[in-house]
């Protein structure tokens, strides 16, 4: 009998049979992992199985290739804390959908897991601790890209320009470009927001630029090779933040 216990975040729950559910989790040590939850459609388990909730999970199966059974205990009802705020709820749904669609199954991604926890803490924060949740969200998508092997190099200018004046990202290479070196090609480059290179505190325009960069590279490197579109939850987040059209 194979068995493990781990901390996890609920990504998705699909009804299976009359009362059960197949639940997808993002675990700390076992990556994205699915399992069958008995009574997953029942009154007790449905509040637990909301995307973004933290759970203690125990998985067991006879063979590794079996989907296995999951026993879950709620450790953090995060979904409930953001339900009243449409933008924060959209960010949580977007993060869960991106993890579900982008991460390979059963491959550990502890950085992404801890990144989601940090994002959830920012989403649940008050006016002070959660003031910059949108910037945290952009940082988390950059981390997801890096964890998937498509990290952007925002530390130095790809064209040999000054590293203290990085202003663009090359859509071809994912590397930063300085203001002077990039100016002649500005129309073809993606604007690099200052908060991603340690300058400035973010704000609407910079968050929009950050989301534009991560959206471009998520689509190009992760979803287009799968012949899939960006998850609708991610498009909705852009729309809600008033930064584009869904």
């Amino acid at each position: 009998m194979l068995e493990w216990s781990d901390e996890a975040i609920v990504l998705e729950a699909r009804p299976h049979g009359e009362s059960g559910a197949v639940v997808s989790l993002l675990t700390e040590r076992h990556g994205r992992h699915a399992g069958f939850v008995r009574g997953g459609q029942g009154r007790q388990m449905r509040p637990v199985l909301q995307p973004g909730n933290a759970v203690s999970a125990r998985w067991s199966a006879r063979l590794a290739e079996h989907i296995g059974n999951l026993t879950l205990e709620l450790t953090g009802a995060h979904a409930a804390t953001v339900m009243d705020d449409r933008a924060r709820l959209a960010a949580l749904a977007s993060a869960a959908a991106l993890c579900e669609r982008a991460l390979p199954e059963r491959a550990p991604h502890p950085a992404t897991y801890h990144g989601v926890l940090a994002l959830i803490a920012a989403l649940a924060g008050d006016a002070t601790s959660g003031a910059h949740w949108r910037e945290v969200y952009v940082q988390w998508e950059l981390l997801l890209l890096r964890d998937l092997g498509y990290g952007l190099d925002l530390a130095r200018c790809a064209a040999g320009g000054a590293n203290d004046q990085l202003a663009y990202v090359s859509p071809r290479t994912g590397r930063a470009v300085s203001l002077a070196a990039g100016e002649p090609y500005a129309e073809r480059l993606l604007p690099l927001p200052g908060f991603l290179v340690g300058r400035g505190g973010g704000g609407d325009a910079e968050v929009a630029q950050g989301l534009q960069i991560t959206e471009y590279f998520l689509a190009k490197n992760v979803f287009e090779p799968q012949n899939r579109d960006l998850p609708s939850a991610r498009k909705r987040l852009t729309q809600i933040l008033g930064l584009g059209t869904a």
Binding site: E12, R14, E18, Q44, R46, P47, V48, Q50, P51, G52, N53, L74, G76, A77, A79, A80, T81, M83, D84, R86, L89, A90, L92, A93, S94, A96, A97, E100, R101, P231, S232, A233, R234, R236, I240
Partner: protein, 197 residues
């Protein structure tokens, strides 16, 4: 021949919610034993229902007449529309007797992972109905789930330009609920939405 008909009956009954193959076999046997008093009337009722029951063209409720009984009822308050996900939710509210206005059944919720978008929901019809001059309030009675509340926010956004009052159902302690047995999400919602005593 007879055996295969019984098998088919059991197979169909086993597809109903709450029935497995064993309970379907028991139900089939009970129906056959009470052929005249149960099986035949049930068969006729099912046939009539299959012919007559249709979604209401106004609200999406299921009824044997269009518009449905709720939409036809002149005693109902036409100023308020209650938006629900499914017909089952409408029936639950009707059972409670807590609401005497009109309904609108969306036909589901937005779901990022199931790929269910706004075009699959009956939002356009809701906007048309809400634009009528007599409508002053829309109650969003959608589930307290991530998908349900995402849908509620989306519908509220679409309704905002129409200038009607948009309200949502409260969340918190259930009647008869003890704090010790409440899930963390409900408890935190109850604290967030507390009111003066």
């Amino acid at each position: 021949m007879a055996a295969s008909e019984i098998d088919r009956m059991i197979q169909l009954l086993a597809r109903l919610p709450g029935l497995g193959p064993r309970s379907a076999r028991r139900a089939a046997l009970a129906l056959i034993v009470k052929r005249e008093s149960l099986l035949r009337p049930l068969g006729e009722a099912l046939l009539r229902a299959a012919e007559a029951i249709r979604p209401c063209s106004v609200c999406g409720n299921l009824d044997d007449r269009d518009p449905c009984a709720v939409c036809r009822d002149p005693e109902r308050d036409g100023h308020v529309i209650c938006v629900v996900e499914e017909v089952g939710d409408l029936w639950a509210i009707e059972r409670s007797g807590a609401f005497r206005g009109r309904y609108h059944v969306l036909g589901g919720t937005l779901s990022a992972l199931d790929g269910r978008g706004p075009e699959q929901l009956k939002v356009g019809r809701l906007l048309e109905r809400t634009a009528a001059p007599e409508v002053s309030e829309v109650i969003l009675a959608l589930g307290a789930t991530v998908d349900g509340q995402t849908t509620a926010h989306y519908v509220a956004e679409r309704l905002e330009p129409l200038g009607v009052s948009i309200t949502r159902l409260a969340q918190g302690l259930p009647v008869g609920g003890e704090l010790d047995y409440l899930d963390d999400g409900t408890l935190s919602a109850a604290f967030r939405l507390r009111r003066p005593a």
